[in-house]
Subunit: 201 residues, 2 copies
DNA sequence: CATATTTTAGAATTATATTCTAAAATATGG
DNA sequence: CCATATTTTAGAATATAATTCTAAAATATG
């Protein structure tokens, strides 16, 4: 009559509820402004329950972050791999980034705001792993274009900032309410800029 | 025999000591990881004293931020105004940004990490003011180049991200230990990229 | 020098993240 | 379906750390 490590059927759903409640609270009240109370209230659950599923407030926030970054990265890779020519790939990922932020504002806001929070140490290892895989894939894709002479040579570390820096900054402004530029305009102008910055000619 | 609002001679020095102690603690231990205790210990002062000069931990952190951003922005403007040709100005500010980060790591780390912290609401107004003045000045400078046809036309909101986004991302990587690129290499490659992205031809 | 004001110090208070205990719910072998 | 080991929930108790408070010390100025 012994059982081990089984898990109740509704547990994954409950965890998801807590994560979404946490995401909303953190966005509305900030990390420090959010009490475990607030999360429990919004998720319709109890302190004990939350602590049963998550080791700490930090762990919880970190899980939220991982959830978001996974979604972003997987879509990014999927989009990139649809294309072969450097120019097409660059336009695609810039567009992807901007669209993703426009249609996942809550997640995007959380990812931007929390990128450097203390609690990220709670998932340092996992986060590094995700990033490594992500940058490896992207790097491999771009190497083709560089070797084919379609993308100009720079120190390898410069490509990510040059390509994605502008959309990062633009979407940051967007989420801070500092710009109301149209999605379409932004996407095409930033993609064009990125392409000019790296194309070989 | 009545006096009002006078201030002891050593007060400004003390405030500076507290600010530097706070900067170091926050960088080493994170905002939440830092106790008022830690700051007092490092600054050789007492809780009561710190609270006499700063309304709260949030206020203190926010003052540190403002101190740092003022230094960064004033140097930036000074550098930009030394130049007249768009290309020269762009090279100068990219270089300035990178050099500033290399030679003010502590401040830079703090500014990056804390940009979206809750406590920034404590100085929202002042921060907005600084940014407005900063962007106005920069905007005015660039408008010349655009009108002279040396810089291509884009939505106005795109210039800041296109010009500074790459160095922002690069220096972020630098502070996270994700790159060891040489200061000189980074500066020239990123400046060149920025110039290609916006030049008219 | 006298005294109003500012500054310092540290104890007391308050707020809130975390731990703990026990009850309720659930899964599974029989 | 039953018995029971395990997981999950709940909320009270505890611990930690920010903030407030009170009084003493230091300082500026008429």
């Amino acid at each position: 009559m012994k059982k081990l490590n089984s898990t109740h059927k509704k547990t994954p759903a409950k965890i998801e509820v807590i994560i979404m409640a946490a995401l909303e609270c953190f966005n509305e009240l900030g990390f420090n402004g959010t009490g475990m109370n607030d999360i429990c209230a919004r998720g319709g659950t109890s302190v004990g329950s939350v602590y049963h599923h998550f080791k700490s407030k930090d762990q919880l926030a970190a899980r939220v972050y991982i959830e978001g970054i996974k979604n972003y990265q997987s879509g990014y890779i999927e989009e990139l791999l649809k294309h072969n020519r450097p120019r097409d790939g660059i336009f695609a990922i810039v567009r992807y980034h901007i669209n993703w932020v426009y249609s996942n504002r809550d997640w995007a806001r959380f990812l931007f705001r929390m990128r450097h929070e203390d609690f990220m140490w709670a998932v340092e290892e996992e986060f590094a792993q995700l990033n490594k895989k992500f940058f490896d894939t992207v790097g491999t894709w771009f190497r083709k274009g560089i070797q084919a002479g379609e993308i100009r040579k720079m120190s390898p570390d410069m490509y990510p900032p040059v390509l994605m820096g502008p959309c990062q900054e633009f979407t940051r402004m967007l989420l801070e309410g500092k710009t109301f530029a149209k999605q379409e305009t932004a996407a095409s102008e930033l993609a064009e800029s990125a392409w000019r910055a790296v194309k070989a000619v």
